[in-house]
């Protein structure tokens, strides 16, 4: 490397200041000019997070939100060279540093995960679907699902409710399916029962509906006689929404 240690150190000091905002002394630098760099850099990070997590931003008190963003940017080395992927690092940092407890927001991980998933599915690279036909046997032919999807589980219904008080009152087990409409590119999401979440997960593995239904008793699901009918009705509805694409050829 051609860079001398002194120049290296100066560049590090400058960038550390931009990340933390903590005062530094740099030769030849006017402090009143330096502050603009901190503002420009931090505004970009703050705006990115507000844009990525609009519900969290709206419902978390401003002082706490600002503290989170400042902590994240000053202590975390941002890895993505694409700024739109930075919210994933923010979410990961929140989980790793147990922010649910630190900031006393029990639904924080769920909310950040949901908002990130919506952005991720919207932007994710195109994934070609396996060859399929539009007609087939719903029970015996493996179904082809839209591969551009995420299946998530939550402790709080962040996909249904935004207000913190309502979220806290409704702690439980929730599943949500997010997928990208193949033509419009819009992200659709659907609340799923535990059974339908299990069904979706198994279908992605190529297991037939018939085999999944046979497994239902082992999940302590009591078949009242409508399970098959309700399951198929759900899948046909999901076909209309372009999540079930067809039948494997």
């Amino acid at each position: 490397m051609n860079l001398l240690p002194d120049t290296y150190h100066i560049q590090q000091t400058f960038s550390t200041y931009c990340r933390t905002g903590e005062k530094v002394k740099l030769p030849g630098v006017a402090p009143h000019r330096l502050k603009h760099y901190r503002q420009l850099v931090f505004n970009m990070i703050r705006d990115t997070m507000e844009h990525a997590f609009p519900i969290a931003f709206k419902h978390i008190p401003t002082t706490r939100w600002n503290k989170m963003v400042k902590e994240f940017f000053s202590r975390h080395a941002c890895q993505s060279y694409q700024v739109w992927k930075l919210p994933l690092e923010f979410y990961t940092y929140a989980v790793e540093h147990n922010w649910e407890d630190t900031y006393d927001i029990p639904f924080l991980n769920d909310l950040l995960a949901f908002e990130w998933a919506e952005m991720e599915v919207y932007n994710m690279e195109d994934i070609p679907a396996p060859a399929h036909s539009l007609s087939g046997n719903w029970l015996d032919t493996p179904l082809v699902l839209n591969p551009e999807h995420r299946l998530l589980s939550f402790n709080y219904p962040v996909h249904l409710v935004a207000k913190p008080k309502e979220l806290l009152k409704n702690k439980g087990v929730y599943f949500v399916l997010l997928f990208r409409h193949p033509e419009t590119g819009h992200v659709e999401f659907t609340d799923l029962s535990p059974w339908l979440a299990f069904l979706t997960e198994q279908l992605t593995l190529g297991i037939t509906v018939k085999d999944i239904l046979e497994y239902a008793p082992q999940l302590n699901i009591t078949d009242t006689g409508t399970l098959e009918r309700d399951t198929l009705a759900f899948l046909k509805h999901m076909q209309q929404l372009h999540f079930v694409l067809g039948f494997r050829q």
């Binding site: 560049q11 000019r33 850099v41 941002c78 690279e125």
Partner: protein
């Protein structure tokens, strides 16, 4: 050729070409790499309609640490996929201590930094098999400088063999902020190496400070500096950057037309002289 920075805010207007019709578009690969769905379809529609130039954000040529090889792999693939004619980047750094900063930080004007950057530019050029076009960035304070800005730039160009992106607004902003003569500065640059020009608006935030926002129309003194500058250059592509406060398309088209008229006036005259 006068183009415009392609932005999602006015993607449909660009594709329809009804109210705005640039000669080419420019975008940052980082904003479009690994993207699918709706915006990938939009990107394909727009690149079918216009020639593409790319202006990178994350190469961070001035970083103290090693180049990001996997990033360069993506860039190479992307430039090939979209038949990108020019790939430009910034003479600054945006990553340090393995952390991206997402903004352009000023490099100390020092000879060791020149050697470091020139070596990195050569590595990138060798890998991409194309010249890098480096933009002279706006900056708000020098940092531990041991040489002048213009000497720094000249040395980087000389040692690396790169080309230059002359952002005329940046030169205006820097001349104002650091109290030097913009024309004298430009005259000292290796002008035969200029391969691309950027034009943009800015915002004066204090009596002695302008911030390069790309959020306002180009002001008359910058147009004047542009007209003076291009008389000293061979014809190159000229780009209008507008990243914030997006106005009606008619206003942007007005700026494109004004730039085009200036180019036509000055460069046509030059052609006639040569003929």
């Amino acid at each position: 050729m006068v183009g415009i920075g392609f932005r999602r805010e006015f993607a449909e207007e660009m594709i329809s070409g009804e109210h705005i019709r640039p000669d080419f578009i420019e975008f940052a690969p980082e904003n479009w790499m690994n993207i699918g769905g709706y915006w990938k379809k939009v990107l394909h529609r727009v690149v079918e309609k216009y020639p593409v130039l790319c202006h990178g954000l994350s190469l961070s040529i001035g970083s103290p640490e090693a180049l990001d090889k996997s990033f360069l792999q993506y860039i190479k693939k992307f430039l090939r996929e979209y038949n990108v004619q020019i790939y430009s980047e910034h003479l600054s750094y945006s990553k340090c201590d393995n952390a991206h900063m997402y903004d352009l930080l000023p490099i100390p004007f020092r000879m060791d930094a020149v050697r470091h950057i020139a070596s990195r530019i050569q590595q990138v050029q060798d890998y991409l098999q194309r010249p890098l076009v480096m933009e002279i960035v706006s900056y708000y304070t020098p940092v531990a400088a041991e040489m002048s800005e213009v000497d720094f730039i000249n040395e980087v160009v000389k040692q690396s063999g790169c080309q230059l992106l002359l952002d005329v607004n940046n030169i205006y902003v820097n001349a104002f902020n650091h109290q030097y003569d913009a024309k004298a500065f430009i005259q000292q640059l290796p002008l035969s190496k200029v391969a691309y020009i950027h034009m943009a608006g800015h915002e004066q935030v204090a009596p002695d400070l302008i911030i390069d926002t790309h959020g306002e129309p180009i002001i008359d003194p910058v147009y004047d500096l542009f007209e003076w500058t291009i008389q000293h250059l061979q014809p190159v592509p000229v780009l209008l950057e507008r990243d914030f406060n997006i106005p009606e398309m008619a206003e942007l088209q007005g700026e494109l037309t004004r730039l085009k008229n200036i180019c036509h006036k000055q460069w046509k005259r030059k052609d006639e002289l040569v003929a």
